[in-house]
Amino acid sequence: MSKLLIEGVSRTFAGVRGGQPVKALMPVDLAVAANDFITILGPSGCGKSTLLRIVAGLEAPSEGRALLDGKAVTRPGPDRGMVFQSYTLFPWLTVAENVAFGLRERGMAQKERDGLVASYVDLVGLKGFENHWPKQLSGGMQQRTAIARALANDPEILLLDEPFGALDNQTRGLMQELLLGIWERRKKTVLFVTHDIEEAIFMASRVIVMTARPGSIKSDVAIDLPHPRHYTLKTSPEFSGLKARLTEDIRVEAMRTAQGQPAGT
């Protein structure tokens, strides 16, 4: 059985001031196997974040449903950990307290929490920063904390919405390796939304390419590159071949998006 099943999920936003309703997402079907690392690749505005938010339970689908382990998603829950593009660490909590947040909400005793928190802080390489406030951390460190915070709940699936989108290129590369390394060691079902083609290929066992708005699935590409992956993989011929193919796919969609906008923008 699939870990996550998306059945005919679509999303239409009500028209602004009596205008036409906007179709953001055409009905999408997707089955995600357990421990798969799926990246959803698409031009901006294609509804890929909307799809992720529906799986998270932060938005309701207009039609269809998402099922996790056979149970329909109706609201957000700790079984679906999420990392956002914006920095969403709680600024009044230290790194360790942020990581412990979900465990505390669950009512876990402090003693039990401490060990888990330490191991997740260590996992994302933030040992020594436990007592820092988020504002004292770089963007990359904040996102690492956010990943540790989501993982500490031991969710059934990890949802990431362009988590490295606000980071500079070098940091982004390091973060990709860090997250992939964690996945290679711990295995977890991951749904990762991005508009970066290289990132989508490098991370994924399967890339879902989406069309321009209203979004639907354009292609479904298995990435059979060996693990563990090293950043040098990005310069290999196999990688380049995949990149060329996906670039072509995405380019067509990006152009459709661009043409849909008024001239001069």
């Binding site: 998270a56 339970g57 932060l58 609201r75 957000p76 829950g77 700790p78 679906r80 950990g81 999420m82 956002f84 914006s86 969403t88 709680f90 600024p91 009044w92 909590l93 947040f101 979900g102 505390r104 909400e105 669950r106 406030w133 988020p134 504002k135 956010a146 915070r149 989501a150 709940n153 949802l159």
Partner: protein, 257 residues
Amino acid sequence: MRPLHPVSPGLRTVLGISFFVLFVAFWAWITLGGHVNRIFLADPLSMLRDGWRLLVEDRFWLDILITIWRVFGGFVLASVVAVPIGIAMGAWKPVEAFLEPFVSFARYLPASAFIPLLILWAGIGELEKLLVIFVGSVFQIILIVAVKVGSTRRDLVEAASTLGSTNNGIVKRVIMPANAPEIAETLRLVLGWAWTYVIVAELIGSSSGIGYMIINSQSRLATGQIIFGIIVIGLIGLLSDFAFKAFNRWLFPWSLA
């Protein structure tokens, strides 16, 4: 001068002090130089003399203490009532829809106009003074807190809900801590306004306090005492503001830039 260009700390201090010096110098010039009638405006030196006599002979410090007590009493009363209501309004939209129109209306009711009514209800004792400050502050605090809470970062709330927070958990462990520094800032602001209300309350039907001393001095044309009283209010206001600021900084180290 280049717009928005920062000024050095040394120059800032010098400039800040020099206005006080200029102000007092101008005051001394028009009073000591005989440009205004001494009956209407005392000069700085006799103001200080009058102030000293007030403190030493007339036990004015008792009036100061009683005024401080009234301000803080009324202010604490208003805060204890207003902050929870403001949080409830900001967090739960039906509560806001229920209370917001009335509170917006009540906010424009001038506290000073309630004084005759409050005297009828509560007499001219301490309770009436506290109530004037309460009426003047409570609606302001409710509204500002509700607006701050209502604009809590949505992504933090969403993050908490994906981490398993319940509705109550979100209010208690996200909305409240996220807004605590801003609420404290609001209280600091309103405390400044409370000083205005207390003096108004003491001008009418009172037998103690800084405001009472001021209205009492007016009948004796003791302008030096009046000015001394006003300056004392300003100084206490400034000190409590500094203390409040320092307290907030100590309480919320994470919110510092």
